[in-house]
């Protein structure tokens, strides 16, 4: 079960809230990038960045020089997926079918080398499943230049909207078309780096991700 705190409890549209921890995992595992919210000099900053999950921990990484990876206190990590555009009979009922996870907490700087490597592996595999085992691993210099943060999934919320528009009853009889336009993210066939020194085909785990293959 997901925690309920003041900020993870939905104030409006409470029916959109999900409390199953499995839904949180599924959503996080499907996303490609998160939006990391930090406070810098008192103002919010929102950065798209990669992430990875191991159990109940989310990993983030960046350059040791990145200001966003040295947050003042808490962060908010949001992963949102758009599933469709809700086309209603009235302007105000237009909406987006989506799934959104929000995670709140104070990240922990990971110092243990084994956990740092596991975190980087999780981040790489989230973006590019199957790649970690076939590419060159980080060397000592790269590890030294990289900051890895761990964020507990203890305080998190999941919000989901599905289905047709929720028009007002008095609008239902109007002769205006309504429905949902589904939106999907697709992966196209890989494009080989023109600088590749060898005549190598794209590996099977990359081809397997191509949508509709």
């Amino acid at each position: 079960m997901l925690s309920t705190t003041e900020r993870t409890r939905l104030k409006r549209a409470k029916h959109k809230a999900r409390t199953d921890r499995g839904e949180l995992y599924d959503l996080l595992d499907e996303g490609l990038v998160c939006h990391l919210g930090v406070v810098v000099d008192g103002s919010p900053r929102v950065l798209p960045t990669g992430y990875g999950r191991i159990g109940d921990t989310l990993y983030l990484h960046g350059s040791t020089g990145a200001r966003s990876l040295r947050p003042e206190g808490e962060v908010c990590v949001t992963v949102s997926l758009v599933d469709g555009i809700v086309l209603a009979r009235s302007g105000m009922h237009h909406s987006v079918n989506h799934r959104c996870a929000m995670v709140f907490g104070t990240p922990r700087l990971v110092t243990d080398e084994e956990e740092r490597t596991a975190g980087l592996r999780a981040i790489t595999e989230q973006l590019a499943p199957g790649q970690w085992d076939v590419v060159r691993r980080p060397d000592a210099k790269e590890m030294a230049a990289t900051r890895v943060l761990a964020l507990s999934l203890e305080e998190a919320s999941v919000k989901v909207r599905t289905g047709p528009p929720n028009d007002d009853p008095q609008d239902h009889a109007t002769p205006i078309w309504a429905g949902v336009q589904p939106v999907r993210t697709v992966f196209d066939p890989p494009v080989t780096d023109p600088g590749l020194a060898h005549d190598l085909p794209a590996p099977e785990h990359v081809l397997a991700r191509v949508t509709g293959r």
Copy 2:
């Protein structure tokens, strides 16, 4: 030209910065949702939400009760589009080809009814082009329950990554495949609301958005 301030100047990967205001407009006009960053009780909160642009102003809306629409001071609005997964020869050079706009500022509460309507129209049209002119417009009750915020595009940055991986020279000769897996957002054929009272076809402006049609 885009402004350069302390927080819109890229500290790393400076070659990814774009300074053409037209690129900012194009990116904002292509996105479906933004990620709105606000500070609530001193902590960041990142919410996916709709938006619309008119000239150099971004419009946001929400319920009058929404805490996120009554921000403490500044906000950050980020619109990011994923174009591809960069598959490198080394783990640390894996990346995302993406376009990202960040807008900073203190939003203005819109009170003029004409501007409020124009803002809501822009937000609806961003999500669902062509819909505003065919659906029921907001009535007085809906307008009273809606907060419209305007954010100037004066302080904004655009960051773009394109092309193949930037592997280290010493990795280029290794027999590891590298390239880019393109990622696209597609719109599928619309699904009619099962509760539609009339036998109406989906309108042409909705069908026109279907990818590959």
